[in-house]
């Protein structure tokens, strides 16, 4: 009952009004007392409305945090097959969680497209962009406004795993959501 002090103040005001009436005061004074009482009641109503909205917000914040946690648990890196821009089932699951979190927020995101080292650098820049766009298109198709999504391709220029071989290459073919 955090709002007790406010309610207490309103009761005091009402008591004052009653006392004023009881003392047989003038009509003018009675009117003033009634106005004060009405004002007090209005103030209380506004206060209560505010408090209930805050409570609703608190519930929404808890929900948003839960959604963001769920998305974070699935990771913000989506991996691709060689020379492919198709989203894998794992990528889709993670992406769906991010979309759920973004649908109830106004946050903006940046999608970084990357490739492995095979093939030419310029072609890979284009391929990295295609991957980022394939993620963006899926997000837009699922209700995220396109203006909230920026795409950028690093091609093969920004590997997470150095060196050659399937293991390293698989880690580098990715889109990172930030």
């Amino acid at each position: 009952m955090k709002h007790l002090p406010v309610a207490g103040k309103a009761i005091t005001l009402l008591l004052t009004a009653v006392l004023l009436v009881a003392c047989g005061t003038t009509q003018e004074e009675k009117d003033a007392a009634a106005a004060a009482a009405a004002a007090a009641a209005a103030a209380q109503a506004a206060q209560e409305a505010q408090e209930s909205a805050a409570a609703a917000n608190a519930i929404a914040t808890v929900d948003q945090a839960r959604l963001e946690e769920a998305a974070a648990a699935l990771g913000n890196v989506f991996y691709f097959e060689y020379d492919s821009t198709n989203l894998t089932p794992e990528a889709l699951a993670a992406l769906d969680a991010h979309i759920a979190a973004l649908q109830t927020s106004t946050e903006e995101v940046r999608l970084q497209g990357h490739t492995d080292e095979r093939g030419t650098r310029e072609y890979n820049l284009a391929l990295g962009e295609r991957r980022a766009i394939s993620v963006r298109d899926y997000m837009v198709a699922n209700g995220i406004e396109s203006f909230r999504i920026e795409t950028i391709s690093y091609g093969e220029e920004s590997p997470v795993a150095y060196g050659s071989g399937d293991g390293n290459w698989a880690q580098n073919r990715r889109v990172v959501l930030e």
Binding site: G119, T120, Y123, L125, A126, E129, Y154, E157, S158
Partner: protein, 432 residues
């Protein structure tokens, strides 16, 4: 352009700090079957103090790198003439030299003069004499010019030793951000100068046809943008800053237009920018990837890579009538073409048995010849005389530069002492 002052500062610092460590060294891995034996006697020095450059040693390593010559070791020489009167042919016949180069270096005020004489040992006759003059600070470039003259006299093809390279090197910072450098060096990797250093990716360095300016793609603002930079002043200009890709700049042969790749209108397409007005003209309109434009020497058409047929292949766009034709049909991956000045030889990245090699496409016979046996080869760049191709490859986990002659007969590597080296760009001939 807020970053300009700090970039310039780091450029200056980098030039002071990194000259030694960025140096490339040359290892010749395969020469021609019957290279010409040439003896290059140490040049006489007529000046005070130490000579600014061992001219004979520079000429020696240039000719050796071509694979077409095998220079004779100084320790095997029976005499070391520096003037025509001191040449005894029997001394050179005895060590099986086919040709002999001698010379003299003098210095007056700050001007250096290199004189040389070239002899045919078997015919016992002088075949060429010449001189190079210039500031003492350019002694090494003057030595490369002597090598160019000797190479042209003996092969009939102009030499391309007195040229420069651009390349990108990346130094890994464990647990931190890698940093990238754009370096310019002599054609043999000597005299490296760092032109730009950033912690964001750099790629696509390329030369203006007069070799006085360069262009490249830098991510230094957090997004890719194409920059043009004047070499003599360091003055930089950001040419593009569009949403999406801004990449693969390529100067037209007349220097007035820059071909580039932009994806601002949806998918990557080739555009031409008029460098005077900055007006853009869209050349390709396709939902596929169109990238890696390069000009034919006559400036009438462009080659580019497109996967419009499903896999990346080389296409030619004719600027006169707007027609497009596919040029490559051998193999599932042909990309990033560069054309020799003869307009006939095209070098490109070619995939064979899952490996990426450098291949030569002959536009007259339409035959493709694989030139390299290394793997993950990319970024071929052809010498202005059309004789050699520099490219990037891998040695272990590191990126290195390597070279191969257009006939595949000569191979060499230019490993760096540290970092990954990539994207060599061979300069046009330098004006004097």
């Amino acid at each position: 352009m807020k970053v300009l002052p700090s970039v310039l500062l780091s450029v200056v610092l980098a030039m002071v700090a990194s000259i030694a460590q960025a140096q490339l060294t040359i290892e010749i891995s395969q020469g021609m079957d019957n290279p010409t034996a040439i003896a290059i006697a140490p040049f006489a020095w007529q000046g005070n103090g130490a000579p600014p450059e061992d001219v004979a040693a520079v000429v020696d390593s240039d000719l050796a790198r071509s694979g077409q010559f095998v220079p004779i070791a100084r320790t095997d020489m029976l005499s070391r003439p520096t003037a025509q009167a001191d040449v005894f042919y029997r001394d050179w016949r005895a060590i099986e030299a086919e040709y002999l180069l001698i010379g003299r270096v003098s210095k007056a005020n700050n001007e250096l003069r290199i004189e040389y004489d070239l002899f045919d040992v078997l015919r016992q006759t002088i075949v060429d004499s010449g001189a190079e003059t210039g500031p003492a600070s350019t002694a090494r470039m003057m030595s490369h010019r002597v090598a160019d003259a000797v190479y042209e006299k003996l092969t009939g093809v102009p030499g391309a030793f007195a040229t420069r390279l651009l390349y990108i090197s990346v130094t890994r910072v464990p647990g931190g951000k890698d940093y990238s450098r754009l370096t310019m060096s002599d054609s043999d990797g000597a005299n490296p100068v760092v032109l730009l250093e950033t912690s964001e990716p750099l790629l696509g360095p390329t030369w203006s046809p007069d070799a006085k300016s360069i262009a490249y793609v830098s991510f230094e603002t957090g997004r890719p943008a194409i920059y043009r930079q004047e070499l003599s002043t360091g003055r930089r200009e950001q040419l593009t800053n569009f949403k999406g890709l801004n990449s693969a700049p390529a100067w037209s042969p007349d220097g007035k237009t820059m071909a580039m790749v932009l994806s601002k209108d949806g998918s990557p397409d080739i555009y031409l920018m008029d460098l005077a007005t900055k007006q853009l003209k869209r050349i390709t309109r396709h939902y596929a990837i169109d990238t890696e434009p390069t000009w034919m020497p006559d400036g009438n058409s462009l080659l580019f890579t497109s996967d419009r047929g499903g896999r990346p292949q080389i296409y030619r766009y004719d600027l006169r009538n707007g027609s497009t034709e596919r040029l490559t049909f051998e193999g599932t991956y042909n990309a990033r073409a560069r054309v020799a000045q003869d307009g006939r030889n095209v070098v490109m990245v070619h995939q064979q048995d899952g490996r990426f090699h450098i291949a030569l496409l002959d536009l007259v016979t339409n035959r493709t010849h694989v030139l390299t046996t290394t793997q993950l080869d990319e970024s071929p760049s052809i010498a202005p005389n059309g004789s050699m191709v520099l490219y990037a490859t891998k040695a272990g986990d590191r990126g290195i530069l390597a070279g191969v002659s257009v006939d595949g007969g000569v191979k060499f590597r230019l490993p760096a002492r540290e970092g990954d080296v990539r994207e060599p760009a061979w300069s046009p001939y330098l004006s004097r």
